[in-house]
């Protein structure tokens, strides 16, 4: 299933913050988790995760540190901050509102099936 760029971009921040809220992690692991959570439907361009992480760091939502776990490569780990948790809560509230509204629209739309062609398109 194809998910539009705008939707991917809008959901990226709460997804990353949500994953980091469960514990510190690094880029590749975050990406894998996003993949698992969405059942492989949410495809990100790998590289673009990093500018996002850097932006969250600049805003103070996450902090980062280079660490070398025993037997592994040196990696940059990201950890959520208190401010990041607050931001996550706020985003969650906003998303809940949007999802609720959408749910209302879906159930209303279901009762007027089939969807007629929008009137305004005929006038163009």
């Amino acid at each position: 299933m194809y998910i539009t760029k705008d939707l991917v971009a809008a959901s990226a921040t709460p997804l990353v913050l949500g994953i980091l809220a469960e514990g510190e992690s690094y880029g590749y692991a975050i990406l894998k988790q996003v993949n698992e959570l969405s059942g492989g439907e949410l495809e990100w361009t790998d590289g673009l995760l990093y500018p996002l992480l850097h932006r969250l760091e600049r805003l103070g939502h996450v902090e980062s540190a280079w660490q070398t776990p025993p037997g592994e490569r040196r990696r940059k780990y990201y950890r959520i901050t208190d401010q990041g948790r607050a931001e996550l809560a706020e985003q969650r509230r906003q998303w809940a509102t949007v999802v609720d509204a959408l749910r209302g629209v879906w159930s209303a739309a279901q009762s007027v099936k089939p969807i007629p062609a929008p009137v305004w398109e005929a006038g163009r």
Binding site: Y26, G27, Y28, L31, T45, D46, G47, L48, Y50, P51, H54, R55, R58, W66, R73, R74, R75, K76
Partner: protein, 453 residues
């Protein structure tokens, strides 16, 4: 594909990514870590290493898009930051920190050297001012030479030559019994800094003074240094104004402090700091001198051509006064500077273009103007006699004229596609020796020739 081949491909990818200045070292490292994870996962799933590499790179996204996103997040990276090393853990950063410390020491030495004569009763504001004028270049330039000697790791032979030359400078500035208002003293005050600046050049090139490339580097350095020195001077002016103003507001007079400490010590230290800035930013920021040259070459060419037309149109002769030579000497210096810094930045393999024609027009018109001045002046020079000032002005004019005349000839050959541009560069860098000989002659021989007049 073997592990070595995979490593080779990753190294290539890394080198390619490094070329994007939006991506810092740590970013590339982070991305590389990601790439390796992805490759490992794909090979575990059964792909061959080269296939895994290709897919991993593809999934990373196009480098253009990536750099654009990084640039959006780190827009400050497009403004190259100079002084603070961005990534503190690299060996380069350790070196630049060491250089910073040595620079501060040298600048402090230069600043303190200004105050040493005061310990022996040479007061800057009182009757010692002539002493300070004669020795001005001997406070800061040895410190600057020392900084370069340290930075270039020169051998004892070069250090010996530097010490000897500065000792000759001290001798030249102080040994001759010159009258305070003699012409020779003024000439010495003007020429000794020039002579010693070329000695600094000897330290700058690390003793390798025969190399044309290194000499050109020194010419580039000189232009940039001058610009930075002027910029620091402007900042210093603001600092001085605030120092004077704020202390006056609480009824304290800071003028003595400014005149005998802030200005002289600050100027001496600025000599070293400016040099360090030029060295530090060398590869980071585009050189300013060639940019200014680009802007002013057409303007000066237009002005000189207008001047020539005005002479012909009005048939006004040049009013040969006593000091007129100095102005035209300075004009030649400016034209030569424009020529030098255009050369210093030029791609030597590029074909002659419009700018080269403008440059040639500038040089030729300066030559014609100077020839007119010399024609007008020769008749009267016998009448005035050969005073030190007149001789020096005439000598300088001839030196610059010779340089520009031959430059014009080489330029002409280049514009017509007959001679390579490198000959011009070689001519200019070799000519530095002439300046050095002339400056030392004026400082050392003129007082003797003219009986300390």
């Amino acid at each position: 594909m073997t592990v070595d081949e995979l490593e080779g491909q990753i190294a290539e990818w890394r080198a390619y990514t490094h070329r994007r200045r939006e991506l810092h070292n740590t970013d590339v490292e982070e991305l590389e870590d990601h790439l390796r994870d992805r490759i490992a996962e794909l090979t575990e799933a059964g792909l061959r290493a080269d296939e895994a590499f290709l897919i991993a790179v593809k999934r990373m996204g196009s480098l253009d898009e990536l750099s654009r996103e990084f640039a959006r997040e780190h827009s400050e990276r497009l403004w190259k930051q100079l002084v603070l090393p961005a990534e503190p853990d690299t060996p380069a950063a350790a070196r630049s920190r060491r250089e910073l410390i040595v620079m501060v020491l040298c600048a402090a030495a230069a600043a303190l050297a200004v105050k040493i004569p005061a310990l022996f009763g040479q007061d800057m504001s009182g009757d010692g001012d002539v002493f300070y004028a004669r020795n001005a270049s001997l406070f800061a330039l040895p410190a600057l030479a020392a900084y370069f000697a340290w930075q270039r790791r020169v051998g004892p032979r070069v250090i010996g030559v530097l010490a000897l030359l500065f000792a000759i400078g001290v001798f030249a500035a102080n040994a001759y019994p010159l009258d305070e208002d003699s012409q020779s003293i003024v000439l010495s005050v003007i020429h000794l800094p020039l002579a010693l600046w070329l000695v600094v050049g000897f330290a700058y090139v690390g003793g390798d003074w025969r190399s044309d490339r290194r000499r050109m580097d020194f010419i580039r350095f000189t232009g940039e240094w001058l610009i930075y020195f002027v910029l620091i001077g402007l900042g210093g002016g603001v600092l001085t104004a605030f120092t004077a103003g704020t202390f006056r507001a609480i009824g304290l007079d800071a003028e003595d402090f400014i005149a005998s400490w802030l200005l002289p010590c600050g100027a001496a230290a600025a000599v070293v700091v400016a040099a360090w800035l030029v060295e530090a930013k060398q590869s980071v920021i585009e050189n300013m001198a060639p940019v200014l040259t680009r802007v002013f070459t057409p303007l000066f060419a237009a002005t000189l051509l207008a001047f020539l037309v005005a002479i012909i149109w009005t048939t006004n002769g040049i009013d040969v006064e006593r000091d007129v030579l100095i102005i035209f000497d300075l004009l030649l210096v400016v034209v030569l500077g424009l020529l030098l810094y255009a050369i210093s930045a030029r791609d030597r393999t590029a074909r002659p273009g419009l700018f080269d024609h403008v440059q040639l027009a500038l040089v030729v018109s300066a030559l014609i103007i100077d020839a007119l001045v010399l024609l007008a002046i020769t008749g009267r020079i016998t009448e005035w006699g050969f005073s030190p000032n007149k001789t020096a002005a005439l000598g300088e004019n001839l030196i610059l004229l010779t340089n520009l005349a031959w430059s014009a000839w080489l330029f002409f050959g280049f514009v017509r596609g007959r001679a390579p541009f490198a000959r011009m560069e070689r001519w200019q860098t070799r000519y530095l020796v002439v300046y050095a000989i002339w400056a030392w002659t004026v400082v050392l021989a003129f007082p003797l020739i003219f009986n300390f007049a």
